[in-house]
């Protein structure tokens, strides 16, 4: 038998934050946004976004869960038996979400009470499972982690934009319920101008429709419309 010369190929070390990583991080913010383009995770986007403060907390929680479940799944992706793939993914996601919920309860109880079931519902958020299947199961851990962060941020960006619109038009405040609450417009406004005496913003009556979940549908629909009009890459995708 002929001896074969083995040449050990050394792969060039991949940069920690090269162009591929940047793409993973920035794409979900615009071109591949989980809510407006992939249309995943819309459910919680409707329910939470009536106020900005819970939306910020939700965005951070989803980013954390997506990033770390991507990371852990990617780390064990070669050892997961095919037959129990989904079960293993679910356990990873559920454990992470429960950790987030317990931490939230200990650090900020009023927000936990306000978000109630929606934190638990992150387990069913399609973005988390979607990214696991689409990316983490076939890519390396660090890249998967970045992809998770990118998608979480994309989701968070939409959530916060919708929440800002809904809270200002529906309640006239920003960050209500948080230590930095601002009353912007309407009969009690005081942030820019004291509207009890000025007529500049004082005429505004809170629009109650914006507080109901249906308004979130309208706002997200309009956002999708605007995004597709501006971004030429999205025009042919139906």
């Amino acid at each position: 038998m002929a001896e074969t010369l083995e040449t050990v190929k050394t792969e060039p070390k991949e940069p920690l934050f090269g162009s591929k990583e940047k793409k993973l991080l920035l794409d979900p913010l615009t071109d591949n946004n989980p809510i407006t383009v992939q249309v995943l995770g819309v459910c919680s986007a409707l329910a939470i976004t009536s106020l900005v403060y819970p939306s910020v907390v939700m965005a951070i929680s989803v980013t954390f869960v997506t990033a770390f479940s991507n990371l852990f799944t990617s780390m064990v992706r070669e050892y997961i038996p095919k037959q129990v793939r989904m079960i293993v993914q679910l356990v990873i996601i559920a454990t992470l979400v429960t950790v987030v919920e317990l931490a939230l309860k200990a650090v900020n109880f009023p927000i936990w009470k306000q978000l109630s079931v929606y934190i638990g519902l992150i387990i069913t958020n399609c973005i988390v499972m979607g990214r696991l299947e689409a990316y983490a199961m076939s890519n390396k851990p660090w890249r998967s982690f970045i992809d998770g962060i990118g998608n979480g941020l994309g989701y968070g960006a939409i959530l916060i934009i919708v929440a800002i619109i809904r809270e200002i038009t529906g309640k006239g405040t920003l960050f209500a319920g948080s230590p930095v609450e601002l009353k912007i417009i309407g009969p009690n406004g005081s942030y820019f101008i004291d509207t009890t005496t000025s007529t500049l913003f004082g005429w505004y009556t809170n629009n109650n429709l914006m507080v109901l979940p249906a308004a979130a549908l309208f706002v997200i629909g309009i956002l999708i419309w605007i995004q597709r009009s501006i971004n030429p890459k999205l025009v042919d995708i139906s």
């Binding site: 009536s50 070669e78 050892y79 997961i80 038996p81 095919k82 037959q83 129990v84 079960i87 293993v88 356990v91 559920a94 454990t95 429960t98 950790v99 317990l102 931490a103 309860k105 200990a106 650090v107 109880f109 009023p110 009470k113 809170n206 109650n208 507080v211 109901l212």
Partner: protein
């Protein structure tokens, strides 16, 4: 990966044990904080009912956690009552949860009573619970030492509609109406919420437009819930 049954079972077992250890550890680590936060949250809700009596510009919404606990320790007596008006010794009122009590047969229920030592008089805080339109509602009614004049009220709900039923909590004008009204007329609970506007200003408050069923729920909750305290209040005035 295609794997043998033994491998699958081993993988699942290891993963489950790992998840269990992580979750149990997380719960242990956060248990003390969560319980303390919950206690402060509930106590703060009670203090809202005596907001006007806290003194010198203090407001239940901007008290620090330690201030809430201090106020309760120094100025709040806690009494637990049976439905007959007897005092149950050795139990703290803060441990009584009306949601749990209402599952017991009516004669076996315990009632929490908080007595606040105001600067000039004692204020009695009664807890009530009932049904709104979609889900449960609850609240605290503070009564002055004449055991008839209302000193303050605060309401909360599980799932009333924002802008309509939820106004019992979100709009301070609603519970504010109760201040100064009388609870009892000829020994019966006479306080009520009237759709279309109060008529008898001593015993009635204005309803909320579009929230008739929630407001009727408040009336029912008050008349039944305060009625539970009648035996004790009558024994006090003798």
């Amino acid at each position: 990966m295609e794997s043998s049954n033994k491998y699958i079972i081993a993988f699942i077992v290891v993963m489950t044990v790992l998840a269990a250890v992580i979750l149990a550890g997380m719960r242990e680590a956060t248990m003390a904080s969560s319980l303390r936060n919950e206690e402060i949250f509930n106590k703060r809700a009670i203090l809202f009912a005596v907001n006007d009596y806290l003194g010198k510009g203090l407001n239940a919404s901007n008290l620090s956690d330690d201030q809430v606990l201090a106020l309760f320790k120094e100025r709040m007596e806690q009494v637990v009552l049976t439905m007959d008006g007897e005092v149950v010794p050795g139990v703290l009122a803060e441990k009584i949860d009306l949601a749990v009590e209402k599952k017991k047969p009516e004669s076996e229920r315990h009632l929490p009573l908080f007595i606040f030592n105001g600067k000039k008089e004692k204020i009695y805080i009664l807890s009530v619970r009932g049904s709104g339109l979609w889900d449960e509602i609850w609240g605290s009614i503070a009564v002055r030492s004449d055991l008839n004049t209302i000193a303050g009220a605060t309401f909360d709900h599980k799932g009333e509609t924002p802008g309509l039923g939820a106004e019992i909590k979100d709009n301070p004008g609603f519970p504010g109406q109760f201040v100064g009204k009388q609870l009892f007329r000829d020994g019966e609970v006479a306080i009520l919420v009237r759709k279309g506007g109060s008529r008898d200003k001593t015993y009635e408050v204005d309803g909320i437009s579009g929230a008739t069923i929630t407001a009727d729920g408040v009336t029912e909750m008050l008349q039944r819930g305060i009625g539970y305290y009648r035996p004790y209040l009558e024994s006090l005035s003798n």
